[in-house]
Amino acid sequence: MDFAITEEQSLLQDSVAKFIDNDYDFEKRMKHSESELGYSAEDWQEFANLGWTAVPFPEEDGGLDGGPVELMLIMEQFGRGLVVEPYLASIVLAGGALRRTADDAQKADWLMPLIEGSKTGALAYLEPQSRYRLADVALNAKKDGDDYVLNGEKGVVLNGATADVLVVSARTAGEQKDEDGISLFVLAADSNGVKRRAYATVDGQKGAEITFKDVRVPAAQLLGEEGKAFPVLQSVLQEATLAVCAEALGIMEKLNHKTLEYTKSRVQFGVPIAAFQALQHRMVEMFMLYEQTKSLLLWAVMAQESEDADEARRAISAIKYQVGTAGRQIGEEAIQLHGGMGVSWEMDVAHYFKRLTVINTLFGNADFHVERYADLM
């Protein structure tokens, strides 16, 4: 019975925490978020230099062999710092898909640049109609000689605006909602026929709608077995879900801390408003929600290494449901307790809240996951 992390894990945690606390202040974050790229290329390179971008990959692929614990430690700190660099999109999603499917040549061509930080990637798996149904893939890929020809559209592609490398899910067989018949392709984002409508997202990141019109992709860029990508996507998204839940925990910690500090310093009616019991009990509730979320995250992390696949999926749905519900409550309460300041663009809590809100939607919201949990119950 031990929740302690190893010395190596502790070093990793410290190195990320130190960077967040010393070199990643809110002003800088906002400046980079509002830039055209949407993040700092320099910081991204620093992430790679420090080895963070290599963490979730096996040693033989140039990685550091990290597992769910390491991912949790990194993402929790990224949450505390409200990091806008595309770790989730490029490393966990695009990199995660490549890690699971790419052959040696494909890894050398497409994955290595992501790990080294010279390029970034995006996973284009969602479509405008698909909501949280992972199997709902209409974009089709037709074999034509040595190529596949892609036609269709992908929606809300995280980091889709500026990614160099796209990993795209496409239907090579079956009906639109079949689990069978989905394939993954990797291609350069500037390939002929790829058109991006780039935009900012409400949480200060960048996304894109991407249309594919007669995009020719050589068969050598098919990832894994044709038509068998559904379980791969499931696995990638399960890991990504864990990642954003850890990020959410870091955000909750910050929101709670900042709310507590603010109510202690804000004086009305001649006293700090933290003296009011009505507010105290609400902050106690926020604290309890945070602790419950942390407990479920620890379960989820440990369950990923369990031999029982259903246990791993149950735990993921439990924590995602928790992050969705507790996150909304903590976020909304933090804003409410900050009063007018809470709804000001200049205040960091406003931006923490927005990211937490986006995380609820990513990879299935609370409603979706409680239903999935009930099915596995």
Partner: protein, 400 residues
């Protein structure tokens, strides 16, 4: 990170299971599993079985009769007791007055009282709350005035759980009126319930049961030897008592047992052609309850792991009482909802061993679900209401 038990811990768990398989009386198990409240004699018989095994007081120091178990072993023990749905141990002697006596009492008191507590020879009751002193316990008015070698006790204690069976009562009484802080001048006194001037009046609770009482003290003379520790320091001792047994305060294992039973019930019970589990809104509530329970279980384990490695429990432990009782009450609600219309008939008399099948209303313990629901509203009120618990967290954890 690792939440698995070691090989030794698993062996210990086997030992506990073997013991329960062999020694847990079938007639008591029958009552527990059919909604029949065990008699006082059942509680005592079961506690004596545990005493004979040497397992009656895992939290006591070994020198006073404890087991010397590690925190994980204690956890396993309470988990297994809940899994077998054994009756709760009556806490007033074992968890409350016992620890106060061995911590603050003198040798004579230890010799006189501790063996009978361990052996369940004496039934204790708690005399804390008063009609005018609930959450604000320090405003208590019961007085114990020194008269020679005796204290003369006058006042009223209330919500005295199972006081109708009690042989002895421990109480907080004011021994000095002239104090700067209200918490001073309160003493911790032991009183034989047979002393002239003690009278017990039943309070019938919301579901119709007799569980709690008012205890009146009218010129009750108690020898000064029955004062525990120093005169006027009772408040401090009483607080220690409230903090005792922080582990298992959430009662996770019992909630797990109940939720699993509820799930079985929802799958198997068919009224109107389809099992309740097919009702999406009910299924969702079950899922939400199970997720909350998992969060509580891991919060409990985090506390346990801290204690097991010699650290103080972290701030997470402060949520256990609040969330634990909230969850118990949520499960109460779901049982009642599962019973549907059959939560309506008020037939408490049928929960007896010899009740005829012919007149039995409802399936299983359906008609008892509402009684449990109503009765257990107490869970968020007793032992410091959940609002008081929030005040405590605000002060001690959030620094407000």
């Amino acid at each position: 990170m690792d939440v698995n038990f070691t090989a030794e811990e698993k062996t210990f768990r086997e030992e506990v299971r073997n013991f329960l398989d062999e020694k847990y009386p079938e007639d008591i198990a029958y009552k527990m599993n059919n909604g029949i409240e065990p008699d006082p004699e059942d509680f005592i018989r079961w506690q004596k079985i545990l005493y004979q095994q040497g397992w009656i007081a895992p939290n006591w120091p070994v020198e006073y009769g404890g087991t010397g178990w590690s925190p994980v072993q204690k956890y396993i023990f309470s988990m297994e007791m809940a899994r077998y749905n054994t009756p709760r141990l009556i806490p007033f002697g074992l968890s409350m007055v016992g620890p106060v006596i061995y911590t603050f009492g003198n040798e004579a008191q230890k010799e006189r009282f501790l063996p009978d507590i361990l052996e369940s020879n004496v039934w204790w009751a708690q005399g804390y709350s008063e009609p005018g002193a609930g959450s604000d316990l320090a405003s208590l008015k019961t007085r114990a005035d020194r008269d020679g070698d005796e204290y003369v006790i006058n006042g009223t204690k209330t919500w005295t759980t199972l006081g109708q069976h009690a042989d002895w009562i421990f109480l907080l009484a004011r021994t000095s009126q002239d104090v700067e802080r209200r918490q001073e001048g309160i003493s911790f006194i032991l009183c034989d319930m047979k002393t002239p001037g003690v009278s017990v009046k039943p309070i019938i609770t919301i579901e119709g049961g007799h569980e709690v009482n008012e205890v009146h003290f009218e010129d009750v003379r108690v020898p000064v030897q029955n004062l525990v520790g120093e005169e006027g320091k009772g408040w401090t001792y009483g607080k220690v008592l409230l903090q005792h047994e922080r582990t298992n305060i959430a009662d996770v294992a019992r909630s797990q047992y109940r939720l699993n039973r509820l799930k079985e019930l929802a799958r198997s019970s068919v009224r109107g052609g389809e099992p309740l589990i097919g009702d999406w809104s009910f299924r969702r509530k079950l899922a939400e309850a199970e997720i909350s329970l998992k969060a509580l279980e891991y919060t409990d384990l985090r506390t346990l792991a801290a204690v097991a490695t010699g650290k103080a429990p972290g701030p997470e432990s402060s949520i256990l009482k609040i969330r634990g009782t909230e969850l118990q009450q949520l499960i109460d609600t779901l049982f009642m909802e599962a019973a549907g219309y059959y939560a309506i008939p008020f037939v408490p008399d049928q929960y007896q061993v010899d009740f005829g099948e012919e007149d039995y209303v409802g399936e299983g313990a359906e008609t008892r679900t509402s009684l449990v629901y109503f009765n257990n509203r107490k869970a968020s009120i007793y032992g410091g209401s959940n609002e008081i618990q929030r005040n405590i967290v605000a002060k001690h954890v959030l620094g407000l």
